[in-house]
């Protein structure tokens, strides 16, 4: 009787499993086709046939796994039943689960250790190449140490308690509805720790986001960074050290940034295809986007701020290590800093990057002198600058200034 029931049960079991599998065919199929990479043109029907064979193969594989699981389950059940028939106690699943948690705790600890050493070594933590980045790294370490201690303690307690206080019929739980003292302690303790973190975080944050040069501070190098789908445009100021104004209405094929020539600071601005930065000198990025939101992200320097259409944003930082030094220290000849886009902006979001190079001051000046002016001959013609009084006046002034030298 019991056997008959068992067989019937199995049939239904496998039937339903089959049904569900057909339902999840889609899911399976994706993981399956990893070796059907025959993309070469050829007999397409043969190809699809091959594809379905592979799909079928993987579905079958999953079915087999399901059956094995079902059979193992049955074996356990039969074993359990025989134990009970012999008058012994069946499998104690409750204890099995408790032991499971302890095993999970131990194996998990090993996994966390592995991840911290292997994957942790691949991160950029402790390797910030900017002045404020080093402060952030310190703060990161402090936060990591505190949270890691809490993480370990609470997880050990959680799984430890689960194991230690596994249920038994002989025992009753300890009726302990509340204890105000303990509760006050563990409300106040995290509050104090968090206050400390908040205060340091707040002060650091205010310092980093203060992008205006203070009096007496040497002026920061101003660089204009403009994002659009899917590239970054870089503009440097000329000898005056000031960037000219922009107006989005002026954007066209030759004036890609919409630089306004009503502003005399615009005339000597330079166009660049690399973000070249002198080491140990404060840089202020003047950021804007033309179409959608982008984000200027340079993880090596701990720099990130969104580029928003219609809203200029700024980030001031000081790089501390040249690209050449990084290559030498990392022993990686092809190392480069990059600026990535870090706000979803469309299909090629993943490839919207700009090369960033940090060099010595001398190299920077040399590079700067080779850059072409933003004001191209074609643009001059288009804007009819020859007749522009402001332009003439600026040219004259510049000539006088160079004569005085």
């Amino acid at each position: 009787m019991a056997f008959k029931h068992l067989i019937n049960y199995k049939k239904i079991f496998s039937l339903i499993a089959m049904f569900l599998l057909l339902g999840t065919n889609l899911l399976m199929a994706q993981s399956t086709s990893s070796n059907t990479t025959a993309t070469d043109s050829g007999d397409t029907s043969a190809q699809t046939a091959g594809m379905w064979t592979t799909v079928g193969y993987y579905v079958l594989l999953f079915l087999v796994v399901c059956f094995i699981v079902a059979i193992v389950g049955k074996i356990f059940k039969v074993y359990d039943l025989t134990l009970q028939m012999q008058g012994k106690k069946g499998i104690n699943w409750n204890n099995a689960m408790a032991v499971g948690f302890i095993i999970f705790l131990v194996v998990g600890a090993v996994g966390v250790y592995y991840s911290f050493t292997v994957h942790g070594a691949m991160t950029l933590v402790g390797d910030a190449q900017s002045v404020h980045g080093k402060t952030l790294d310190t703060m990161f370490w402090v936060t990591t140490v505190i949270t890691f201690i809490v993480f370990v303690l609470t997880q050990v307690l959680l799984f430890g308690f689960a194991f230690k206080y596994k249920g038994s019929d002989k025992r009753k739980a300890y009726y302990y509805p509340h204890n105000n003292t303990i509760e006050k302690i563990w409300t106040v303790a995290p509050a104090i720790v968090l206050t400390i973190l908040v205060v340091f975080g707040f002060l650091t944050w205010r310092k980093i986001t203060n992008t205006v040069d203070a009096k007496g501070e040497p002026a920061s190098l101003q660089v204009d960074v403009t994002g659009h789908q899917f590239a970054w445009e870089i503009r440097y100021p000329g000898k005056d050290g000031r960037l000219g104004m922009k107006n989005y209405k002026l954007i066209n094929g030759t004036n890609k940034l919409g630089v306004s020539y009503d502003d005399k600071n615009s005339f000597d601005d330079l166009q660049a295809d690399t973000l070249m930065l002198p080491v140990n000198k404060s840089v202020r990025l003047n950021i804007i986007a033309q179409d959608v939101i982008h984000s200027v992200y340079m993880p090596n320097f701990r720099v990130q701020i969104n580029a928003v259409p219609g809203l200029p944003t700024y980030f001031k930082f000081t790089p501390t290590k040249t690209t050449a030094e990084m290559r030498r220290d990392l022993d990686q000849a092809d190392f480069n800093y990059h600026l990535y886009c870090n706000k979803i902006c469309g299909g090629s979001h993943y490839n919207m990057q700009k090369l960033v190079v940090v060099v010595t001051e001398a190299e920077y000046q040399k590079w700067l002198s080779q850059q072409k002016p933003y004001l191209t001959e074609q643009l001059k013609k288009e804007l009819k600058l020859a007749d522009n009084p402001l332009y003439k006046q600026t040219l004259l002034q510049n000539r006088l200034a160079s004569n005085n030298l």
């Binding site: 689960m97 991160t123 689960a162 596994k166 509340h178 701020i305």
Partner: protein, 629 residues
């Protein structure tokens, strides 16, 4: 202490209820049902279907991340123009990410979780015959259903579903020229969300009014189980926050279709100046996150409520610090309205404002920490019974800790500069609100399945499901923290274009296989769930020896829940393992007069008269004992 008690109204009407049974047909019973139990099941099954769909989408983009250079002809067969040559289209990849996020956050963890368990448990655990407005309750489900259908229908539009991320920041979402996913698919997304919010509001108003007005005799607010407290505060959050999303979405519809400039200013797309001027993209982010942040608590609070109930029941111990648990839920509710700016530290929002939001954000960590410690204290010296529900509840606590702690990094504006929008964030929220909330939901399903379907789920399959999912989720999300610390941005189609990211490819492949394993483990759940509905072992009335009211109803569902009068409540819901009582639980319906040997002064804290009589009784007992000696 509040003793706002509302007496039972429904008893009088009850005599008539039986007569209505005969008029039920298939349509009124299973489709347009106004019965809270049926609506709960409708929400649950729709939620599960949406979850499976969203999970499959995630496997699709995980495969792309693991094998960016490989072509899978099967993908072309399945997806057609979205995967030309067997490789996912870059725009379709973003659509997958968007729809995965939208479905999981809104359709599964908001509607599927709150909708199921609020509907099921509010009337059951409070002792009400149904919701305050059963018709509105039905509308709530059907609007949710229509929203789901519209969301899925966007896969059949020419340019594919919405693609600007689940946060749909304009201008990307406002300019159809900017990406294919901002075309018709985006319109579908917006319409779907408006309907969804309408559904949530109807549900939320119903939950609040039922909880405030329809509690049975003796059920004052401080005798409510923590599940109900969680659903109550969740509903308040939803009712206050969701309308703001509608406002944001409607303005976006205006910008998209009627040429207004709420969010748009000074835009040039593909060399062409747009006429928009004076708007601010940041405004949308404020409106979105004013909902968006309470939303993550809308997702996690019901899960925390469910796990409180499951952990107490299966530890056979009262939940530790019941009042602290309620106050921390209230604290989270209030604070969650003033922390939204921590999603916007680096968006160009005034940096001073960022500093303020950082302070409020780290304050909200305190009530969350209190909850965690209270869970641990509940387990301490318990008599733990590992039902699958209990396993999932413990898993929830583990995820809540792991994911919550990384929130301390992200809530710190200064550290967020480098972590914002990287995989660190992905790891953080998938643990703390993704995995934790889904584990809360699964714990609820395993725990209340006997109440919902009158049958038991298979325990062993539940064990298998738990371990594979628990291990799988950690394998997927734990290593992602390190990718984020390596500066890897989220929502990247592939990392092959960038030299320094190539080293992460092996880890990506590993994560994908872990994700596939966890996804396949759900087959164990799906089989168990659907098989048990029809063929599971018949449930007893109170299979978990629980104290709450829902277990005093008969196994067979009846209209009006209780065959006779609604039971009266005399005590709080956590009298487990009370010393002096013969059983290890005392249901809420048992009056103190029947349990003299186990009463404690603590039970009468808010009732001075009874406290006196209790003291008298104790004194008499004591003098009797002395006489015997």
């Amino acid at each position: 202490m509040s003793t706002l008690t509302v007496q039972d109204h429904a008893v009088v009407q009850h005599g008539h209820d039986h007569e209505h049974h005969h008029t039920e047909n298939f349509w009124t019973k299973y489709i347009f049902s106004q019965d809270h139990k049926m609506i709960a099941r409708q929400f649950l099954i729709t939620g599960i279907i949406m979850a499976v769909i969203a999970m499959m989408l995630s496997i699709l983009f995980r495969i792309q991340l693991a094998y960016p250079e490989k072509a899978f002809p099967l993908l072309e067969t399945l997806l057609g123009r979205f995967a030309p040559g067997g490789r996912l289209d870059t725009n379709f990849y973003l659509s997958l990410v968007t729809i995965h996020g939208t479905i999981m956050v809104f359709f599964v963890l908001t509607a599927g979780l709150s909708g199921t368990f609020s509907n099921l448990l509010i009337p059951y655990q409070l002792g009400a015959r149904d919701m305050a407005s059963p018709f509105m309750n039905m509308l709530s489900y059907w609007l949710f259903f229509i929203a789901s259908v519209i969301m899925m229908a966007s896969f059949f539009t020419e340019k594919g579903p919405a693609g600007p991320g689940w946060t749909i920041y304009p201008p990307l979402s406002a300019l159809p020229k900017a990406m294919p996913g901002s075309g018709l698919g985006m319109t579908y997304w917006l319409i779907s969300m408006v309907l969804f919010v309408a559904s949530q509001l109807m549900g939320g108003i119903n939950y609040i009014s039922t909880i405030l007005n329809m509690r049975t005799k003796g059920m004052d607010l401080w005798k409510m189980p923590l599940t109900i407290w969680a659903f109550f505060l969740t509903a308040i959050l939803g009712v206050l926050a969701f309308p703001v999303l509608v406002a944001g979405v409607v303005l976006l519809i205006f910008d998209r279709s009627f040429g207004t400039s709420f969010y748009l200013s000074e835009i040039v797309v593909q060399g062409q100046q747009m006429p928009f001027e004076g708007g601010s993209p940041i405004l949308f982010q404020h409106l979105f996150w004013f909902l968006g942040h309470p939303e993550v608590y809308i997702v996690i609070m019901p899960a925390l409520g469910i796990s409180s109930e499951v952990i107490a029941t299966n530890s056979r111990k009262p939940i530790f610090g019941y009042h602290a648990m309620v106050y921390s839920l209230i604290g989270i509710t209030v604070l969650s309205f003033i922390v939204w700016g921590h999603h916007m530290f680096v968006t160009g929002m005034n940096p001073f404002l960022g500093g303020v939001f950082m302070i409020t954000t780290l304050i909200i960590a305190v009530p969350s920490a209190v909850k965690t410690f209270n869970y641990l204290a509940t387990l301490w010296r318990g008599n733990i019974r590992f039902t699958p529900a209990m396993l999932f509840a413990i898993g929830l606590v583990s995820f809540f800790i792991s994911g919550g702690l990384t929130g301390i990094f992200l809530g710190n504006a200064a550290l967020d500069i480098n972590l914002h929008d990287t995989y660190f964030v992905v790891a953080h929220f998938h643990l703390v609100m993704g995995s934790a909330a889904i584990f809360g939901m699964l714990a609820g399903v395993y725990h209340w399945f006997p109440k919902m379907f009158g049958r038991m789920m298979d325990e062993k399959l539940g064990y298998l499901h738990f371990w594979l999912t628990f291990i799988g989720a950690y394998l997927v999300f734990f290593p992602m923290h390190f990718m984020g610390l390596g500066g890897v941005p989220r929502r990247y189609y592939s990392f092959t274009e960038i030299e320094s990211f190539k080293e992460w490819l092996t880890l990506n492949t590993f994560i994908t296989w872990a994700a596939i394993m966890s996804a396949l483990a759900q087959v164990a759940f799906l089989f168990n769930f659907f098989y048990s509905i029809f063929f599971g072992k018949k449930a007893t009335q109170n299979p978990w020896n629980s104290t709450t009211l829902e277990w005093t109803t008969p196994v067979e569902h009846i209209h009006g829940n209780w065959p006779g009068e609604i039971p009266t409540v005399y005590r709080w819901p956590y009298d487990y393992s009370k010393p002096g009582h013969d059983e290890d639980f005392i249901p809420q319906t048992v009056p103190f007069s029947q349990t003299l040997s186990s009463n404690l002064p603590h039970d009468f804290e808010d009732n001075p008269v009874n406290l006196e009589s209790h003291k008298d009784w104790v004194n008499i007992q004591r003098s009797n004992e002395e006489e015997v000696k």
